[in-house]
Amino acid sequence: MRLAFDEKGADYLLATREEHGNVAPVLLRKGEDPGAIRVDVPYQMAMILTKVNKHVKDGKIAVVARKCDERAIAELVKRDLLDPNRLALIGLACTAEQVRECRCTDPCPSTVDIGECAEPSTEDAPVAGVLGMSLDDRFDFWIDQFRKCNKCFGCTLNCPVCFCDECLLEDKTFTPEKGIPPGLAFHLIRTIHMADKCVECGECERSCPADIPLLSLRKMVNRDMKELFGYVSGDPERRSPLLTTLDGDPMEDDMHAC
């Protein structure tokens, strides 16, 4: 609390705390009893921040943020969807176990306020497993995974960088309303849409009732983005290389239109 309101000068704190025997997101005003703050359950705070931000008209919000939250917020700020002057980040370092689970290569927030940074992950067995398959096997693998999709939209609803007002996944042309599972287009459209935004927070995979390895899919696309364009999502300085003019220069405006 002291951290949020005194050191960071915030008017609100967005955190998680114990409620009803569970861990719940909570927005606290300065001076309010914080209750039992808990930071051990990884809620996607950048996603919750965008929901909260719509309704908090003024004042500064401090948010407990892991490195992936920080990177997601950078993507949102670049697109003018969040005002950085009204935000303060309280850096939360992920535990070694959390880092391992996400196979996270960039776990350390730029300012560490809570916890200690664990070593980045150097191995990614699920991705290695998929890459080790022949192309035919890999195709079959993904088809088998996507057949389990129950179209809950959890992967988009919980994604911190899924922000379009109108979602192509709800467009009849691409995903006609004929029940489940949705066609391959559903997953491929989303995969391409995430290409220059995904911060590898893993929330899509954690939210998936069918345990489709969506984080592996995102990581593989991100790897291509890095190899092809040298671009890493979540970089506060660089714009997406996909937003280019025909001359090869990045476009100057309307970034968030894409």
Partner: protein, 678 residues
């Protein structure tokens, strides 16, 4: 605070997922999953993610209404409540209290259902109290009660993940109970074998280890066929059969007749598949059976449930973790409404109305004389309204004009009533016919508890105020009770109501709000220091031994004919819920499944000259509807499927009101139909 997150329980199926309602400036605006919830584990289905969407819909009822001629016009609460009480009193004095039927609601809380049945029994003076469990799992309650001594799911939702085999029948689990379906997928990933027996290919059957497609209405045959294989191959659990059950010899005799060859003839399932499925189920260390309406909604539904209980007992799959017979209950609180006594033959906690001791106990607790005979079921009540024996209905949160079989029959029955009052959140098809309509608070606007399908008692928390003058059902029931002059309706909070229910229903004896606040309690939980019960029937059954029922295959009430050559079966899809009152007012759900449709096999479609999306007319002996064809190999030839969510082509215009003799559940799953181009 501009934004808050209120932990509550999903208002759709009976899985009991908890989530946070996001409240902004006093309005419910969104849903966020709860990562620490044991049931959902931070995952939801599309209905759960959209559970906020109907709450602020402009169609919400906001003020009481009374009928003036053919119009419903705005009234005050005093006028509307006064009218209900004076009409019911008048009708009771002329025709007796048993001419009144009260319908409780599987969408209301335990506390409210407790009050509804108390209102009927203690204040109005009739055991005529029932609710839509009659239409879904009445045969489960009756069947499992006879076989095991308890009518509820024997095991719990998390246990699905650790089963070695899951036999799923008559349950489209991934669409109707998505988060239970997810657990079954997880079990498969861990090596479990999943066998689905269903006339339709479902999203689960398409990924299952084995998928068997039987002709609708032939389930006892394939279940007995599996038992035949299990016994003849010596795969049955002899020790369990000897020490824990009675009636095995009779079962063995009956099962002898159901050879795989004979079963193939009756059901259409290849005999080798019967043998293979029986071996998979019987040789698993821990095998769970999950079932739903495909089993229960038959005119022999109780026998069908008992057949499944036979199958579980013969293999010793009862009374252990990750085994058992697991009815998946379809509504957020259909389990709780039964627990709370919203049934014509049972007081709260499944105590028999016709048991003198139980009656004396409740008379003492409630301070009113009670009726000695069991009351009328919901299905029976509509029949009796037609004959003039039921004169009035008081309906809390039910929509029989959409949910009950043979809508034409329901409509005729309602038109014969002298008086009908409906308490609901939207102007339903039933409310539009009422004499008095009261606006109720929805799940997001009140406190209380729901009991999930696995007997877990889950908190419902108020997130926002009800719209306009709408009020929670528990307050409405308290006021009605008081206006009838009954004591015992002086409750100031749902917590007080639960305290009374716990005092009279031993299975809830140890339940209180302080415990619900911090832990997941599953009944039976007789005392405050009792931890609650995950697995039923460990060591012994409630009545000592489990009882095998030698049940035989009987054909459905209505068979196909030259004029009606198709078998029509009905059910849900993923995106809508029941009569559509809530989901069809939720934009994202409506986008996914906007229009009514009938599923028909490509072979049948071809012979009738019907193409995909073509407009077709489906008729039965009771009515006809027009809707678009969905031509799909997912349904077997000769069978058609219609979801019952759509008022513009209401499937229940077609369904048959044939009733199971014991549970009086209608045969929604089989009737004879014809299809033609419209």
């Amino acid at each position: 605070m501009p934004v808050s997150y209120v932990l509550t329980t999903c208002p759709y199926c009976g899985t009991g997922c908890n989530f946070f309602l996001q409240v902004a400036d006093g309005r419910v605006v969104g849903v966020v999953p709860c990562k620490t919830d044991e049931t959902s584990k931070g995952r939801l289905c599309i209905k759960g993610y959209n559970a906020h969407a109907f709450v602020n819909h402009p169609d919400r009822l906001t003020h009481p209404m009374m009928r003036k001629g053919d119009q419903l016009t705005e009234a005050t609460w005093d006028e509307a409540m006064g009218k209900i009480v004076s009409e019911l009193k008048r009708i009771a004095s002329v025709h007796g209290t048993d001419s009144i039927m009260v319908l409780a609601s599987a969408k209301c809380t335990n506390e409210e259902n407790y009050l509804f049945q108390k209102l009927a029994r203690a204040a109005i003076g009739t055991n005529n109290i029932d609710h839509c469990a009659r239409l879904c799992h009445a045969s489960t309650v009756a069947g499992l009660l006879q076989s095991f001594g308890s009518g509820a799911m024997t095991n719990t939702i998390p246990e699905f993940e650790d089963a070695d085999c899951v036999l799923v029948t008559g349950s489209n689990t991934l669409e109707a109970h998505p988060l239970i379906g997810a657990r079954i997928l997880k079990a498969m990933e861990k090596g479990a074998k999943v066998v689905v027996v269903d006339p339709r290919d479902t999203p689960l059957s398409r990924v299952a280890t084995m998928s068997l497609r039987q002709e609708s209405g032939t389930d006892i045959a394939w279940i007995n066929g599996m038992i035949n294989v299990i016994i003849s191959e010596g795969l049955h659990d002899k020790e369990f059969v000897d020490t824990r059950t009675t009636g095995f010899e009779e079962l063995r005799e009956i099962a002898k007749k159901y050879t795989p060859e004979k079963v193939e003839e009756i059901t259409g399932i290849p005999k080798d598949d019967i043998v293979k499925a029986a071996r998979i189920y019987a040789s698993a260390e821990k095998a769970m059976i999950a079932y739903a309406m495909g089993i229960t909604q038959h005119s022999n539904g109780t026998s069908l449930v008992r057949a499944l209980a036979n199958l579980a007992m013969v293999t010793g799959n009862v009374g252990k973790e990750s085994t058992g017979v697991n009815p998946l209950r379809g509504q957020c609180n259909v389990q709780g409404a039964c627990d709370a006594g919203a049934l014509p033959n049972l007081y709260p906690g499944y105590q028999n109305v016709e048991d003198g001791e139980a009656k004396a106990k409740f008379e003492k607790a409630w301070g009113e004389a009670l009726q000695p005979k069991k009351g009328m079921t919901l299905t029976c009540a509509f029949n009796q309204a037609l004959t003039g024996d039921i004169k009035a209905m008081l309906i809390f949160g039910e929509n029989p004009m959409m949910s009950d079989p043979d809508t034409g029959h329901v409509e005729a029955a309602i038109s014969k009533l002298e008086f009908m009052a409906v308490v609901d959140i939207f102007p339903t098809e039933t409310a539009k016919l009422a004499d008095v309509v009261l606006p109720a608070a929805c799940y997001a606007e009140k406190d209380g508890t729901f009991t999930a399908t696995d007997r877990a008692i889950r908190a419902v928390r108020k997130a926002a105020d009800p719209p306009g003058d709408a009020r929670p059902d528990w307050q409405i029931a308290c006021d009605l009770g008081r206006m009838f002059g009954s004591r015992g309706f002086e409750f100031e909070s749902p917590e007080q109501i639960m305290a009374e229910m716990a005092a009279v229903a031993p299975i809830y004896g140890g339940v209180d709000y302080e415990r619900i606040e911090r832990e997941m309690v599953r009944w039976p939980c007789p005392t405050k220091d009792h931890p609650g019960t995950k697995v039923l029937h460990i060591g012994s059954f409630k009545m000592g031994r489990g009882v095998f029922a030698p049940v035989e295959h009987t054909p459905p009430a209505e068979e196909t004919s030259e004029d009606f050559p198709f078998i029509l079966t009905t059910g849900r899809n993923l995106f809508h819920f029941h009569t559509g009152t809530m989901t069809r007012r939720s934009a994202k759900l409506q986008r996914e499944a906007p229009d009514p449709y009938v599923e028909i096999n490509p072979d049948d479609a071809r012979s009738l000259g019907i193409s995909d999306d073509a407009s077709v007319r489906v008729s039965t002996r009771r009515g006809e509807i027009t809707l678009s064809a969905r031509v799909t190999p997912w349904i077997r030839p000769g069978t058609i499927f219609i979801p019952f969510h759509y008022v513009e082509a209401a499937a229940n215009r077609l369904t048959n009101n044939a009733l199971d003799p014991i549970a009086q559940i209608p045969e929604f799953k089989v009737c004879a139909a014809s299809v033609e181009k419209a």
